[in-house]
C-alpha cells in the first residue's frame, strides 16, 4: 500500500495509529500472534506492535486459507457451485447456500415455491442457532469459561442432527439447489424440531445463568473493543456487530427475502457496542431464531419443492445480480455476472467475516493482549470465509 493511500485510510477511519511497521517507540516491539494460535479461530496472523502488554497497533495478515473459491465458481455450472459455498463459512453452510442459490434465482428469474421457501428459512434459522452456539462456546473458552463450551456443543449436536436427518451431512450441508429444495423434510423431522425448540429456550437461560451476571465475565467484556456506530458504518460492518452498536439494520427486516415478511420477530439492539453488548445481542438473536422457527413450523404449507425450470440453467447475457442475505455473521452476498452460458462469468462474494475483520485494528488499539483474544472471539470470524 502506498503511503498516500495509507494516510488517506487512516484519516477516514480516524485511526490514530498509522500502519507503519518500521517506526517503533522507545519501549515498543513487534509480536506475531498466530497463524497457529488456538484463539485466532483459524489461520489468522496478527502483527502486533506492543508496548509492554498494551497493543499499540495491529495488522491482520490473511490469506493462509485461500482456495480460490471465487475462481472455482467460474468453472462449474450453477448447481455444482453449491458444495463450494459450504466450505466458505463452514459453520454456517445453510446461509451460504441460500445466498448463492438466491443470487442465481434472481439472475435467471426463478420463483421458489412456498414450501421450499419455508424449508429454507427453517434451515437458515437453525444454522443461525448453531453458528451462534459455536461462537459462544469458543468465545467463552477464549475468555476462560470452560463450562459453556460443553453445554453449547451439547445443544449444537441436536441442531446438527436435524441437519443430518434433512440432508445427510452435518456441516457441509449442500442442502439447496437453484430453483428450490432437492428433497422434502423426512418423516418425523417436524416433531424432532419441535422437541428441540421446546427444550432450547431453557438452555439459553442456562448459558445466561452462567455468564450474563457473572462478575468475571462482565469485567472481561464490558468496555472492551468498543465500536462506535459511525465507525461501524464506515467499515461496512453488518450483522450482530453492527446491531450491538445501536444501528437497526437487519436484511431480514430491511429487504425481506424468502418468507421473512410473513413471520413475526424482533431485531435485538444494544447501544454500547462493546464485547458484552455483542454477547447480549447474539443471545437474544438465538431466542428470536427460536420464535421464527416455531412460526415456520406452524405455517409450513404443502406443495411443490422445485420451481419449473429448464434442465440446464443458463444465465441471461449481460445479466448481473447481487443478492445479500442476513447470515449469522452479517450480510453475506453474492455478485454474479452471466454471459449466456450455463456457468457464471464472474462471481464475487461479500463475506461478512472478511469485512468485520477489518475493524480489528480499531477495536484492539490500546487494549491488553489478553483482551485481544476476547475481541477476536467477539468479531466471530471464520477464516474459511475471510480467505475463501
Amino acid at each position: 500500500m502506498s503511503d498516500a493511500i495509507r494516510s488517506a485510510n487512516d484519516t477516514v477511519a480516524n485511526n490514530t495509529v498509522a500502519h507503519d511497521d518500521s517506526v517503533f517507540g522507545a519501549e515498543e516491539m513487534e509480536l506475531n500472534f498466530g497463524p497457529q494460535h488456538p484463539s485466532t479461530h483459524g489461520v489468522l496472523r496478527l502483527k502486533l506492535k506492543v508496548d509492554g502488554e498494551r497493543i499499540v497497533d495491529c495488522y491482520p495478515i490473511i490469506g493462509y486459507l485461500h482456495r480460490g473459491t471465487e475462481k472455482l465458481f467460474e468453472l462449474n455450472p450453477f448447481f455444482q457451485n453449491v458444495p463450494h459455498t459450504d466450505r466458505m463459512d463452514y459453520v454456517a453452510a445453510a446461509t451460504n447456500n441460500l445466498a448463492y442459490v438466491g443470487a442465481v434465482e434472481k439472475l435467471i428469474g426463478l420463483t421458489v415455491p412456498p414450501r421450499a421457501s419455508y424449508i429454507r428459512v427453517l434451515l437458515c434459522e437453525l444454522q443461525r442457532i448453531s453458528s451462534h452456539l459455536l461462537w459462544l462456546a469458543t468465545h467463552a473458552i477464549d475468555i476462560g469459561a470452560m463450562t459453556p463450551f460443553f453445554y453449547c456443543f451439547r445443544e449444537r449436536e441436536l441442531v446438527l442432527d436435524l441437519f443430518e436427518q434433512y440432508c445427510g451431512a452435518r456441516l457441509t450441508l449442500n442442502c439447496m439447489r437453484p430453483g428450490g429444495q432437492p428433497f422434502d423434510l423426512p418423516h418425523g423431522w417436524v416433531d424432532t424440531c419441535r422437541e428441540f425448540l421446546e427444550l432450547f429456550p431453557a438452555k439459553i437461560d442456562e448459558y445466561e445463568n452462567l455468564l450474563t451476571n457473572n462478575r468475571i465475565w462482565k469485567k472481561r467484556t464490558i468496555g472492551i473493543g468498543v465500536l462506535s456506530p459511525e465507525v461501524a458504518v464506515e467499515y461496512g460492518i453488518t450483522g450482530p456487530m453492527l446491531r450491538a452498536s445501536g444501528i437497526d439494520f437487519d436484511l431480514r427486516k430491511a429487504m425481506p427475502y424468502e418468507i421473512y415478511d410473513q413471520v413475526d420477530f424482533e431485531v435485538p439492539l444494544a447501544e454500547n457496542g462493546d464485547t458484552y453488548d455483542r454477547y447480549l445481542v447474539r443471545m437474544e438473536e438465538m431466542r428470536q431464531a427460536t420464535r421464527i422457527l416455531e412460526q415456520c413450523l406452524d405455517q409450513l404449507p404443502e406443495g411443490a419443492l422445485m420451481a419449473k425450470k429448464a434442465r440446464v440453467l443458463k444465465a441471461p447475457k449481460g445479466g448481473e445480480v447481487y443478492h445479500g442475505i442476513e447470515g449469522p455473521k452479517g450480510e453475506i452476498g453474492f455478485y454474479i455476472v452471466g454471459d449466456g452460458k450455463p456457468i457464471p462469468h464472474r462471481c464475487h462474494v461479500r463475506a461478512p467475516s472478511f469485512i468485520n475483520l477489518q475493524s480489528l485494528p480499531e477495536l484492539v488499539s490500546n487494549h491488553m493482549i489478553a483482551d485481544l483474544v476476547a475481541i477476536i472471539g467477539t468479531t466471530d470470524i471464520v477464516l474459511g470465509e475471510v480467505d475463501r
Binding site: 477516514v12 480516524n14 462449474n76 448447481f79 455444482q80 457451485n81 453449491v82 458444495p83 463450494h84 466450505r87 463450562t147 451439547r154 449436536e157 443430518e164 436427518q165 434433512y166 440432508c167 445427510g168 451431512a169 457441509t172 449442500n174 432437492p182 428433497f183 423426512p186 418423516h187 442456562e206 445463568n209 452462567l210 455468564l211 450474563t212 451476571n213 457473572n214 462478575r215 468475571i216 462482565k218 469485567k219 464490558i222 468496555g223 468498543v226 462506535s228 456506530p229 459511525e230 458504518v233 464506515e234 445501536g246 444501528i247 437497526d248 447501544e271 454500547n272 457496542g273 462493546d274
Partner: protein, 213 residues
C-alpha cells in the same frame, strides 16, 4: 464522508459516546450470580451421576446412528446376477464438482446394456460427499452408505475401485445412506395415507354424512 453519514436520520440520533462503565450491584459485589452459575454446573454434575442422558458416545465401541440420508462411502449396486448395474454413461463423472470419479467403459456382451465400466474409481480424498453422483445416475447404480470412517495409510489407497465399492455394504439395508428412493419412508407415507383412508371409511360406515376434511 463522515459528515454526510451523520446527516443520516438513523446515525445522527444522539447516542452515548462512552460505554456505560461497569458498576457492580450489591449481589455481584457479593458474588451471588457466580453461585447461581455454580449451581447450574452442580445440578448437571449430580444429575449426570445419578441418571443419564449421557451426551457422549464411546466412539470406536459404540457408533452413532446416522439417518438414512447420510452421505457416506459410496456403493455401486448390482443386478440380481451380481454384475454391476452401472452402464458407464459418465453422468456421475460429469456432475461431480470435485472431479473425482474415473470411469473407463467397455462393451457389454448383452446388446441391451451396451456398456459397462471396466474401471470405476472414486478418489475418496477428493470427494466432497455432495451426493450429486447419486442424483445424476439414471440407473440407481451408485448410492451412498452411512459408513463414515475412511482412513488410509497411503494416498493411492484412497482411490477406491470397483470391487471395494461393490463389496461390503450392499447387503445390509440398515447401513444404506443417501439414495434416490427411501422404501421405509415411502412405506411410512403409504401407511399414513392408508390410516387416514381407513378413518374416513369408518366414519362413512358409521353413518356420518359429512367427513370433516
Amino acid at each position: 464522508m463522515r459528515s454526510e453519514m451523520l446527516r443520516d436520520p438513523v446515525l445522527s440520533r444522539p447516542r452515548p459516546r462512552a460505554v456505560t462503565p461497569y458498576k457492580k450491584s450489591l449481589a455481584e459485589w457479593l458474588y451471588l450470580p457466580l453461585f447461581g452459575g455454580l449451581m447450574v454446573t452442580l445440578r448437571h454434575f449430580v444429575r449426570n451421576l445419578i441418571k443419564g442422558p449421557r451426551y457422549t458416545i464411546e466412539y470406536p465401541e459404540k457408533r452413532r446412528d446416522y439417518s438414512h440420508r447420510f452421505r457416506g462411502h459410496h456403493i455401486l449396486t448390482s443386478r440380481p446376477d451380481g454384475s454391476l448395474r452401472c452402464v458407464a454413461c459418465f453422468l456421475c463423472a460429469t456432475a461431480c464438482p470435485a472431479d473425482c470419479i474415473k470411469i473407463e467403459s467397455g462393451e457389454h456382451p448383452d446388446v441391451n446394456i451396451e456398456k459397462y465400466p471396466v474401471v470405476y474409481e472414486i478418489d475418496m480424498l477428493r470427494c466432497v460427499f455432495c451426493g450429486y453422483c447419486v442424483d445424476a445416475c439414471p440407473e440407481e447404480a451408485i448410492i451412498m452408505s452411512n459408513n463414515y470412517d475412511m482412513a488410509y495409510f497411503h494416498r493411492d489407497q484412497s482411490k477406491v475401485g470397483k470391487n471395494d465399492l461393490m463389496k461390503p455394504y450392499t447387503f445390509d439395508p440398515s447401513q444404506l445412506g443417501y439414495r434416490p428412493h427411501y422404501p421405509e419412508e415411502d412405506a411410512q407415507r403409504a401407511k399414513m395415507r392408508r390410516e387416514a383412508f381407513n378413518l374416513v371409511q369408518a366414519a362413512r360406515e358409521a353413518g356420518a354424512t359429512e367427513v370433516a376434511s
